[in-house]
């Protein structure tokens, strides 16, 4: 197992190199703006000087090599072209908001998805099942930015009709004011969780229906277990594995920034940072957000695979 994890971690490093190279390449080949011009701002006379100072006059591979060297030796992700701050500190400063959003959303969608999926599977074709699956279809189809705007329009305390929850841009860090942090995230959490909850409910329903027709479920009933125990301890236990996989990877992706939700609610997280930096052709920041996203996704994948061995005793890694 340890050997397996070490091998996988080495692969993570290789993949991160590939990701950083590809991002660099895309920006070099298709620049959306001249970085030197961006930094010079209203003073075009400085452009040649800036180009020299930042090594922008050097060939592509040399620039990439310098970037990589700084990253590996000093864990330095460079400096933003637009506001002259270190990309690393910018990312770390914004990470708590993204983590708050992703983890809170995940808790909501897991609880909802598992509860609805289980009840729907057990009471197949009941009214509850039909309503839940119909609702799930709507939740899956609704785009997050649209759903976010609709919620703001209905419930936001500033522009909303009902003025229940704090609106866009109200995010407060947890360390500053836990109560405000919580209320400001309620709407983003639910908007983010809606489509995931729907997908998970459908996935679990389908899985659980299949599992409930397995021979070992018949055995569990023949043992005289209560139906509740049959469903939860025997059915759900077996049907939950793909949910764990999906949750690990989805949370990994979101930790790299929930771009749409963060943008709709103006939450200063990684996703919002990525969105802004792409708008501004700010390569170091784009590169930084892409890399941090890749790190989360790759580690989430590894975690899911390791977790699998604990969930299913038949899985063994060598």
């Amino acid at each position: 197992m340890t050997k397996y994890i070490i091998r996988r971690l080495l692969w993570v490093i290789v993949l991160l190199l590939v990701v950083s190279f590809v991002t660099y390449l895309i920006f070099y080949l298709f620049p959306s703006a001249d970085p030197a011009a961006l930094r010079a701002g209203k003073n075009p006379a400085l452009i040649p000087q800036i180009r020299k100072a930042y090594g922008l006059d050097k060939p592509f591979y040399e620039q990439y090599w310098i970037y990589l060297k700084n990253l590996v030796l000093h864990f330095d992700l460079g400096t933003s072209y637009t506001n002259n701050v270190s990309v690393k500190s910018e990312i770390f400063q914004r990470l708590p908001a993204t983590i708050s959003l992703a983890i809170g959303g995940a808790i909501i969608w897991l609880v909802m998805g598992i509860a609805i999926g289980t009840i729907s599977a057990v009471r197949r074709h009941s009214i509850f099942d039909r309503l839940a699956m119909g609702g799930a279809l709507v939740a899956i189809s609704a785009p997050v930015f649209w759903l976010g705007l609709v919620c703001l329009f209905l419930f936001a305390s500033d522009v909303g009709k009902l003025k229940i929850f704090p609106g866009s841009g109200s995010y407060v860090p947890l360390s500053q004011d836990p109560a405000k942090w919580f209320t400001s995230l309620i709407m983003p959490w639910f908007v983010l969780a809606a489509s995931f909850a729907a997908i998970y409910a459908r996935l679990l329903r389908a899985n659980l229906i299949e599992v409930m027709s397995e021979d070992y479920i018949r055995t569990a009933r023949a043992k005289g277990l209560s139906e509740r125990r049959v469903v939860i301890r025997h059915g759900l236990r077996a049907a939950i594995t793909p949910i764990v996989t999906a949750a690990g990877i989805d949370i990994g992706i979101l930790l790299g920034g929930a771009i749409l939700t963060e943008t709709a609610f103006n939450i200063p997280g990684i996703g919002r940072l990525a969105y802004d930096s792409i708008q501004n052709a700010d390569l170091p920041t784009v590169q930084g957000t892409v890399l941090i996203g890749a790190v989360f996704i790759l580690l989430a994948n590894l975690l899911v695979d390791v977790l699998y061995a604990f969930i299913d005793p038949r899985v063994r890694y060598t």
């Binding site: 397995e214 021979d215 070992y216 018949r218 055995t219 569990a220 009933r221 023949a222 043992k223 005289g224 277990l225 209560s226 125990r229 301890r233 025997h234 236990r237 077996a238 969930i311 299913d312 005793p313 038949r314």
Partner: protein, 360 residues
């Protein structure tokens, strides 16, 4: 009073294609300490009848009628909760494929313990000790270690032993074994049958063994019921069924068992055709489309299960006369094929046809 008495049990499943008559009016009884073999092809209703005894076929699309008396209580009238307290406790069941019947994610010991705790007030430690004992009882070596292993770490025979251990956990009065040896190697099959017989002798429970293989029940059953298309077509002691079988379907089953003691000259004869649809069943005798001795009358008249003259406790549902059946079986036993014996049934047709004429 019998331990289990099934009376005119009918089980129907309502499906989009029509009503499936899975079990169609069967009756049998099992006494403590005896073994009943229920024999038939897949789809003959043998499994459904047992699952119904356990209350495991209940559901919106199932229609069940008749009575199933267990120690004098009608299980068909019992509440779900009453049945739950009987399942795995007074009546236990083991299934065909031990790998798919054990939960892949739980240790064998955990699954055994769960069975005990569902019905008894035991501490976990005591239940675990008993799980080790049970594994020992069913002949699993090194039970202290095995109890903490997962089903996939067991061999096929060991898994079935573990299933049996689980079924015996609460000392059931009735054990229903549904094709317990079908998924196993031949050598392991014999071990499992010997184990079941040994356990029955030691624990004194009643056993119902469901199988398609007459060879299996020959070893351990006291009584045999042969099922076809949801009905019992022949019923008698194991001795009666093997020495003087009455139903053409039973003959077919007997002729399709390989025997080592007769030599290779005695060919195996498969039963031609397929089991009938249980939605649109054949007219008359359900077996007539596959019966080599079919006569016109058999396509119209539905035979009832009736006692065989001069053979107490032996019943058959066949329209051929006892005399003709005796002659045909004698012929089959001496190695003649069904084709050459068909004439015997025809003489009966002629005789039967002449009766009304003689009356006029």
């Amino acid at each position: 009073m019998s331990l289990l008495a099934v009376e005119d049990l009918r089980v129907q499943f309502v499906t989009d294609d029509g009503v499936v008559h899975a079990v169609d009016g069967i009756s049998y009884a099992v006494e403590t300490g005896t073994t009943l073999g229920i024999v038939g092809e897949s789809g003959s209703g043998k499994t459904v009848s047992s699952l119904t005894t356990m209350g495991l076929t209940r559901g919106g699309s199932t229609r069940i009628s008749g009575t199933i008396q267990f120690e004098g209580r009608d299980l068909l009238q019992a509440s779900d909760e009453e049945l739950r307290s009987i399942r795995g406790n007074d009546i236990a069941m083991i299934f065909q494929d031990p790998l798919s019947s054990l939960h892949p994610f739980y240790k064998v010991g955990t699954q055994l313990v769960e069975t005990m705790l569902a019905h008894r007030d035991l501490s976990k430690a005591a239940a675990r000790d008993r799980a080790v004992e049970l594994l020992q009882l069913v002949g699993i070596p090194d039970p202290q270690r095995r109890v903490d292993q997962y089903p996939h770490e067991f061999s096929g025979g060991m898994r079935q032993r573990a299933m049996i251990a689980m079924a015996l956990a609460n000392e059931p009065k009735l054990l229903i074994a549904d094709e317990p040896t079908t998924a196993l190697d031949v050598t392991v099959q014999a071990q499992i049958l010997a184990l079941m017989q040994d356990l029955q002798n030691r624990l004194g429970m009643a056993v119902i063994i469901i199988t398609h293989d007459l060879g299996v029940v020959a070893e351990i059953a006291d009584e045999i019921a042969v099922m076809y298309a949801g009905r019992i077509v022949e019923h008698g002691s194991t001795n009666q069924i093997f020495s003087a079988p009455q139903h053409p379907y039973t003959w077919g089953l007997l002729k399709s068992i390989p025997r080592l003691d007769v030599g290779r000259s005695d060919e195996l004869v498969p039963i031609s055709g397929r089991p009938p649809s249980l939605i649109n069943r054949p007219s008359g005798c359900f077996f007539h489309p596959r019966c080599p001795y079919v006569r016109d009358r058999h396509r119209r008249v539905d035979p009832r299960l009736e006692p065989v003259d001069g053979d107490r406790g032996h019943e058959v549902a066949c329209l051929l006369s006892a005399a003709v059946r005796g002659k045909i079986w004698d012929g089959l036993r001496s190695g003649r094929d069904a084709e050459s014996l068909r004439g015997l049934a025809e003489t009966e047709q002629a005789a039967a046809g002449s009766v009304p004429k003689a009356g006029t």
